[in-house]
Symmetry: D3
Subunit: 230 residues, 6 copies
């Protein structure tokens, strides 16, 4: 399905997206069953970057950023642009001019399986990007791609309207129809972890908090003094 722009895609509703506002990538990833994490080569271009929003997807030719301009028009407040090439390319698809255009529309950030340029300017603008490479290697505007079709970005399927959470730990995608339940599970997980954190800080061991000693012994874990081993 190349050369298609799908319009009017449903998105995770704003009130549900808002529940993810302070959730970390790690928590969301765990809460939805350890799925949805994009490959670890997707790194923020500056420390402390964070974004939560709904995906507008772009499938584009390698070394070609034409479709990014098409995609801008499809973006609305609280979206995140998620971009993947049809074959691997680290060229610098994105820079501060496109970011300026996205910022005007209220877009929260960019996830791009490729290169990003103008990183200093993007940091100053407060526009966060997660990319596979930083490079200014230029691109052309020759080949059609598609906007708002399901894509594979850094090993994960991203569909238009899915929820994206991105922070210093990387990027996680939550399927649109799962967002409500994942938010609930994430918040529950955070509360549980807060309680655990308190106990750990008080000096209790995970071995005891999680009741691991029995199963470890059952599987045969042995403790031997150093003198007997060396």
């Amino acid at each position: 399905m190349s050369g298609v722009v799908v319009t009017g895609c449903p998105r995770v509703p704003g009130e549900i997206a808002a529940e993810f506002a302070s959730l970390s990538v790690a928590t969301v990833h765990e809460a939805q069953g350890r799925v949805g994490q994009l490959a670890s080569y997707m790194r923020p271009i500056y420390e402390g970057a964070r974004a939560v929003g709904t995906a507008v997807t772009v499938l584009k030719a390698p070394c070609d950023n034409w479709m990014l301009h098409v995609a801008v028009e499809q973006c609305q407040e609280e979206d995140i642009l998620v971009v993947a090439p049809t074959s691997p390319s680290d060229a610098g698809f994105f820079g501060e001019l496109l970011a300026a255009s996205l910022l005007v529309r209220g877009v929260r950030g960019l996830i791009i399986e490729g290169g990003c340029r103008d990183t200093k300017e993007l940091k100053e603008m407060g526009f966060p990007v997660w990319s596979r490479a930083v490079t200014s290697q230029g691109t052309v505007k020759e080949t059609l791609g598609s906007v708002n079709v399901p894509i594979v970005c850094a090993g994960q399927i991203v569909s238009p309207g899915d929820l994206i959470v991105a922070d210093d730990d990387g990027v996680v995608v939550v399927q649109r129809l799962q967002a409500k339940i994942v938010a609930t599970k994430s918040i529950a997980r955070e509360e549980k972890e807060a309680a655990t954190r308190k106990r750990l800080k008080a000096g209790e061991l995970g071995l005891d908090i999680y009741n691991m000693r029995g199963e470890l012994a059952e599987k045969g874990l042995l403790y031997k003094p150093y003198e007997g081993v060396a």
Copy 2:
């Protein structure tokens, strides 16, 4: 041509180099026709690093940094040392002692297809380095190489006296005799981009500013409502 130090190389004149003082790697790379960008694995050792200067080139044996000492003597005010091994090596060829020596001579930075150590000290000294790896893995001083011969560094040919621009986006090389014209084109590009930026920030779309709609339609781009696709 191993074991040769070429002396008295011509360099891009200082008044031309000065025109690049505030130009970004991205702008220069685009202005000279999307060539000259070193591979994206060449990264600054600290955020915000930036250097502009004329190349003194070093071709050296892998795991051997002897020729760096030879090269220091060939450096003068506003030079940038550009170093490549004869076969791949990430050993830590460069550290703060060599940097101290280069700083005294007015050298602006180092581009090294290999490893760099003492990154904390280099940041404190304000001596920027773009390298392929950060490591303290030591090197020997056994094998001759050459200074100020044309080299291949991170995929690009760099000749002595060429102009180097390096910032957070990586490194670009401008051939010595092209420097004047590239400076002019870069500045023109910046001015054009400033006008575009203004329009984008006012909410105009790149689709309209660059007149893309016609060509996109001609190539067959279709807009389909979500209901018709899903």
Copy 3:
């Protein structure tokens, strides 16, 4: 030797470890004969991270972080946890809950040939980690490993009780019984470098300080003016 926890391991004594307090990875690596540097893909999760301490080692199944909980109990004041999987995996074995637990026990940091999550929180807590990847990809708790056996971490053998120095340049391991002599050599090296640094800053060349000109000439290094070459 899987499923074993060795207890009561001897460590580099505190007064010897203290001698490394301000030594850099680069200096220690050089002083002990250019050995012991972990692979350069082991990077600190934040700039300025630094840790010195004695190793508690963990050998664990890939994609499984169960043994980290077992290892916490074996840690004491001034230890550093060093973790390697039995086969390559970049999953996110470690996060802030485990760090909280280690901090209570006075552990100085973590070296992990795998992934790390919660990097923002870890920075805020001041708990430094050197890892191969940053990712929140979750792990399971199913398979036994061992604690305080010799392991291979990022290409180097690390035994329990060895001394670890880690900073912005990476990680170096010093064998337990070599620690005293390496400390002495490192300090001597630092003093020698201080003298060299002073001379370099005064404008002397390494070529002269290290008496390199003779050997270079003997090996056949030639100086040729640019006009004769071009």
Copy 4:
């Protein structure tokens, strides 16, 4: 959707699959618009390997091959097993015992984003495998995954019942409902290429066959004699 085995999936019908019997990966990939090629790190374990069949998909935990046993039961004549882990792992998920079991059921081959062992035996059995690594690194059987859900394998979405063509050039996936039209286009492409091949072998140039000279000139291609350039 973890822990689910979907049964009774529709597949590309046998008579359509048969049309791909002698089509190459390159032809199919081009015919369907240059999409569907798995990443180039997916290599056959022996030269001359080739397989055409319908996908049975497996989503499995990293370092765990339990679900492969579950998947075998779901395979039928002319299927190809396509396997992806939930996070990257090159462990050796597959060997000759599983191949023996698949061969009995008429399965045509295996595509696995991970490691493969027993490559010599697999070649002798005539069971082709395309994998990311060759290694005997063992795996466990602890964690549930799913069979016959859509997966991402080496960068491409593969759904159960899709058509897979794999040869020395790699692997391409054709969506189930597109198979008929892609077969038709591929065969047309082959015929066209046969005519072109004949002309090229007779010494005609692609420049003339494809009428490129005009467009090249229009874009500004210049021919300059060597003497004028050097």
Copy 5:
């Protein structure tokens, strides 16, 4: 311990080594508890390569093959030379002249974490090599290393006298004192697999042979018809 050649190292006795003559890397690796497999980037330089023997280890400077000449003298009938650099290097440390010298002494093969040249000649001579790269990039003879000290090769500790098995699946190391027991376990495993293979070829499923259905159900595996899912 650099610059040391350890002589008279004990080796796995010939009659025990002989028990490994027809065992595969995969079997040995599994039989000793899924440990000892070298990293999967260690590949044979020709298909069908296989070697079994006792390790003579070499620790050498990167880009330097001097110590290989020293090591040859330490080799005896049925040894395998195992070579690792002190820091990563893919230079071509080894070629057919060294192989000729090793063949005279009855050496069975070479495992080298680096580059290998003359691959065509080595295949004709029947001298198998497992290496990280194939390249003719030359090396120097300048720096001392050590022979017959414990080394880390491709992620595994190899000590002199250990048993090495290498085939198309890669390389596995068996500790000297474990060799007898690992041989026994490997042979037992082979017999067990032969029985399983027979049943699988007769059409029985692994699900039944290994009694997996109960545990899968217990963990919650669900079977759903396609109509109910799509």
Copy 6:
């Protein structure tokens, strides 16, 4: 210099190229002082591939193979096409149709820093290719590049008319004006190696043939019996 085809380039004369007919990449690389070896990721697409010839160079846009068609016309008997992209791309730039066209003109092979498709057909045609990847990922024909300008291919500068030798060990480039002297040195080296080979096969050690024992002892190499070390 983009969009230029340089015609009438001088080449290494046929009688000099003929002297390289049976020389290996390893010998030529050593004979010219260990320079000119392309990066080790450039691998032949089939075992036993070998080619010697004079370079016709192509600089092309990534993901675009238009200029290959332009280059065919510039090729003559005994040429080798050497192709590099302006930024990294592994797309499948080359297949059997282009090979058919080159074969008619007497071209000896292809060196391409990118992808190659139709590997089975190329082997059957006897047209050797050294590439960075095997993939059928398609390319476009949109952007001008240049033919017969100096290029960087896999880390080495290749100029039109240079001599290329490629075999199972990779690819080496010899500068046009150096070809005669490198041929002479290579043949001398071969003769010397033949004499050494004879002595090694007779059981003499390299330690003695190359007179290494003295220098090793001088640098401090120690021989210690195992009992004293363990």
